[in-house]
């Protein structure tokens, strides 16, 4: 405990507090732009941080990271534009809530759930990091494959009116993730001779198209006057007791699943968020509302996203393994400053580790305090005239997609998926399994092939994998029977 208290002492300076505040604010600002998620925000702002001392760099990186994640949630809830893939579940439930005039309370629940998720993961980081780091390494291809199959089965079983349609959408998403050059054999797959397809599809243009463009098209078609048509201009920000109660359970589930999965190398926070969201569909109270405006969906997704992001620091600090691109930048920042992450972080460099944990804790509190008063300001966006907002959203979609890799091709992809998303919405075809398939597609195939190299007969030595696979199949069958009965 002494080393953490010592960390708080190191961090509690005016300079560090201001750096955290500025980092949160800048992260928020960049994260609000569609397409610019935490990775882009951290990458954009990282070069400006290099002149700071090592501890300040880490604090600033952490603050930008939280700020950008929350920025993504703001656009997801208010405009149905997920700034990054991990914000998609938040958009699926948050936007319908904003339409009902509950944008303020939803944003507050998102902020509180994010804070709670981060705190759970920070607790694990502070007290169990070395042991958890070792446990994470015991997961192999069989376990990962089983886990991903289970989450796909959950999403397919629970989305839409037909399990077969949902399952097809999940498979279609996986197929799209395979487009491009195969990383293991350099084989060109599903490129049809087009050099533009060699790099494959970036998931952000597809997600922005499916959610942002589709929503604007629907809004214009339905002659929406404002995004929020529920309550007055000064809609309440504080949630009701019931909302708090529902959110608390969902956030606890999200934080538990997110922090458990977030420590596993290979699972990005977005994958963890989707897995947590699909599992939460099964466990939540208002099952029928999930995907159509359930506060539990937002709370779970935000808690899972943040806890997974924070839990990623466990393998990073304990083993030196970054679980995603943002953490790879953090690793680079540490190495530039002469600190090599690994077991030594909890022996020789324990003072720095303590200061980093304390800094993240304070950064999260600053993030929450800074955003509560700002919610009233953000909510007003939902009451702007839609005939003005619609072209602005379309412009932001174009801008956000363009700055990812400056490829006009991505813009065409965004528009194509915008049109497809609109058709899917009109025809009641579920989008969630498709997005999940797209995000998990590459990983699920990699683990399948790794398992094939090891030999599928060895699955008998991996009980977690067997349970997940059998459970997933059983879920699909049960949901198919259940939905047919309901339909009849």
């Amino acid at each position: 405990m002494g080393w953490i208290l010592n960390g708080f002492q190191q961090v509690s300076t005016l300079q560090n507090m201001l750096i955290s505040l500025l980092g949160c604010f800048l992260g928020n600002l960049v994260g609000v732009l569609p397409g610019l998620g935490p990775t882009a925000s951290v990458s954009l702002l990282f070069p400006f941080m290099l002149k700071l001392p090592p501890l300040s760099i880490l604090l600033c990186l952490g603050a930008v990271y939280y700020g950008a994640m929350y920025g993504g949630s703001i656009t997801s809830v208010l405009l149905n534009i997920p700034g990054e893939v991990a914000s998609v579940p938040t958009a699926m439930d948050g936007y319908p809530l904003a339409k009902q005039g509950r944008a303020g309370s939803t944003l507050l629940i998102c902020a509180m759930s994010s804070f709670f998720g981060s705190m759970v993961a920070l607790f694990l980081l502070a007290f169990f990091a070395p042991a958890l780091g070792k446990f994470a390494l015991s997961f192999g291809p069989f376990e990962y494959f089983g886990l991903m199959f289970f989450s796909l089965a959950c999403a397919s079983g629970l989305s839409g009116k037909s399990v077969t349609k949902s399952l097809f959408m999940a498979f279609f998403g996986i197929l799209l993730s395979m487009v491009g050059c195969d990383s293991q054999t350099s084989a060109f797959r599903l490129t049809f001779g087009s050099f533009r397809l060699l790099q494959g599809f970036d998931s952000i243009p597809i997600v922005v198209g499916l959610f942002g463009i589709t929503e604007v098209l629907s809004g214009i078609k339905e002659n929406v006057t404002t995004v929020s048509e529920g309550e007055s201009k000064y809609a309440r920000v504080w949630p009701t007791k019931r909302e708090l109660k529902l959110s608390a359970g969902a956030a606890a589930r999200g934080a538990t699943i997110g922090s458990s999965l977030g420590i596993l190398p290979g699972l990005t926070p977005s994958s963890c968020t989707f897995i947590a969201y699909s599992l939460n569909q099964k466990l939540c109270v208002e099952k029928d509302k999930i995907g159509h405006g359930a506060i539990e969906g937002c709370a779970c997704a935000e808690a899972a996203n943040n806890s997974a992001a924070m839990a990623g620091f466990i393998p990073l600090l304990a083993l030196g393994i970054p679980t995603g691109p943002v953490l790879a930048i953090v690793l680079a920042a540490l190495i530039i400053q002469g600190v090599v992450p690994g077991p030594l972080m909890f022996t020789v460099n324990i003072d720095l580790t303590g200061a980093v944990i304390a800094g993240f804790f304070i950064g999260n509190i600053i993030m929450l305090i800074m955003n509560i008063p700002l919610i009233r300001f953000w909510v007003k966006i939902a009451y702007l005239p839609y005939k003005w907002l619609a072209p602005i959203i379309l412009f932001l979609c174009v801008l956000g997609t363009l700055v990812i890799r400056y490829a006009t091709f991505d813009l065409w992809v965004m528009m194509a998926f915008g049109a497809l998303g609109f058709i899917a919405k009109e025809k009641d075809i579920p989008i969630t399994p498709f997005v999940l398939g797209l995000i998990l597609g590459k990983s699920i195939e990699t683990y399948f092939r790794q398992a094939a190299v090891m030999g599928f007969e060895k699955i008998v030595h991996h009980p977690i994998s067997i349970i997940a696979l059998v459970g997933g199949l059983a879920l699909l069958v049960v949901f198919q029977i259940f939905k047919e009965k309901v339909h009849d």
Binding site: F168, I174, R189, V398, G418
Partner: protein, 169 residues
């Protein structure tokens, strides 16, 4: 009747095409790239997915055929449109037209970026789309000026460089 069949069979048809593409592509990859173990190669997972999609397609087709039969039974029920409904339908058609034109405007916007540059293309697009959606002229001018200023000075300040066109904007 044709519209009912098209409506019900479009999705199974899409499934079928996707499944066939996956199987054919997987077959091509198997012939070209796999020397050793097929399962760990680049085509195995795609083949499995393709076959699963075709199986799902079969189930969905059978289901759609039954749905078409039940839809055709209901076709005899005539709905007499009132004058009010017709007016409403005209209004809806207007919104659909706005939606299609807005979508087309974004397509044109993306197309002209490489020639005019991002800033100028944005100005043209915003002015056109805001006018289409009947925004007041003051609001349109203010929006265009603010966005242009943000693109010309705000984006470079954040380290974001945007495509430039023939005017250097």
């Amino acid at each position: 009747m044709v519209s009912i069949i098209l409506d019900r069979m479009a999705f199974p048809l899409f499934m079928f095409v996707t499944g066939v593409i996956a199987v054919l592509e997987s077959n091509r990859l198997t012939e070209k790239y796999v020397d050793g173990d097929w399962l760990s190669g680049p085509s195995s997972f795609m083949m499995i997915l393709g076959l699963l999609i075709l199986a799902i397609c079969f189930i969905e087709t059978v289901r759609s055929v039954f749905q078409i039969r039940s839809d055709l039974k209901k076709i005899d029920e005539h709905v007499v449109a009132t004058k009010e409904d017709e007016e409403k339908s005209d209004e809806e058609k207007g919104y659909i037209k706005d939606m299609i034109i807005s979508f087309a405007m974004v397509l044109v916007y993306i197309f002209i970026i490489r020639y005019t540059g991002f800033a100028l293309a944005t100005v043209i697009y915003l002015a056109a789309n805001l006018t289409l959606l009947k925004n007041p002229i003051v609001r349109i001018v203010l929006t265009v000026v603010v966005i242009l200023a943000l693109l010309l000075w705000g984006a470079p300040a954040m380290g974001i460089s945007l495509p430039r066109g023939f005017l250097g904007l």
